[in-house]
Point group: C2
Chain length 157, copies 2
């Protein structure tokens, strides 16, 4: 293991917010659907915008599997960062907006961080997701203390 | 976009196999469960071993959410690589073995590639997953032609 020491909670929170706010960063979005009582997982990488109110915004095709899953059941599991420096988020989709009719402030914040403009493509919508649980860890020695947010509230300053 | 040209199918297959066989590479594993008719996604990063017969092997805690999901419904969506150079795999879990009682050949192949030995920890099992569908792409210009395997058969040489 190359990590010198497990990071403190406040350090992990600061590092996580730096990562979540980084320009042109992507997020893995896992969703699920159910057909004939059988659950099916889905997973895609998309551009992330971390909003000023600590919610996540993504832009995806309105007809994509991810969009359909979120409409049917607004639960997502998000991962940001490489596999050995990860921020893992359980989130609830709260809002969906056609990109052409989205609130100006949402568009502004998305364009500030993402490296493309979904309004220039066709058929895209924004989903805004509120984190309920956030964990951050690098290697196995950081599994203890990985919880940074629970029930939507930060556990560390 | 920095990609000079979309890669050919054979090039993507060769690149994908190089990535899947790389030492100490991790895989994102998305699974799903259903409770009271509501689907829930799960997602974790774990070490990957790509077996000689083009199946994937992972070692996870026997009581983890991922293991429980795979036992209830053996469908997983796997992602390897960074978000802008990704190999995306739909796979079916075919085998589960306690690490202490796993076939020698599986253990040998896992240890050849992964950078840790799950037999040294407690409570781990191997799952062996067979890919049904494989896609590979870097940026948006590589979305066309991303299908490399369908119904368990390679589409390109």
């Amino acid at each position: 293991m190359s990590t010198p020491q497990p990071r403190s909670g406040p350090q992990r929170k600061a590092d996580s917010l730096d990562l979540l706010r980084r320009d042109a960063i992507d997020v893995w979005v896992a969703t699920a659907s159910v057909e004939d009582a059988t659950p099916w997982p889905h997973l895609v990488p998309v551009s992330l915008a971390w909003l000023d109110d600590d919610r996540a915004a993504i832009a995806i095709q309105a007809r994509s599997r991810t969009a359909r899953d979120l409409r049917a059941q607004p639960a997502a599991r998000l991962a940001v960062g490489p596999t050995r420096d990860v921020v893992m988020i359980e989130a609830v989709a709260e809002e969906e907006h056609d990109v052409a009719e989205a609130p100006d402030d949402l568009v502004r914040q998305y364009l500030r961080q993402a490296d493309w403009d979904p309004r220039a493509a066709s058929g895209y919508v924004f989903f805004v997701l509120r984190p309920r649980r956030i964990q951050a860890w690098r290697e196995a020695d950081e599994i203890p203390g990985r919880a940074l947010m629970r029930d939507g509230r930060w556990l560390v300053d």
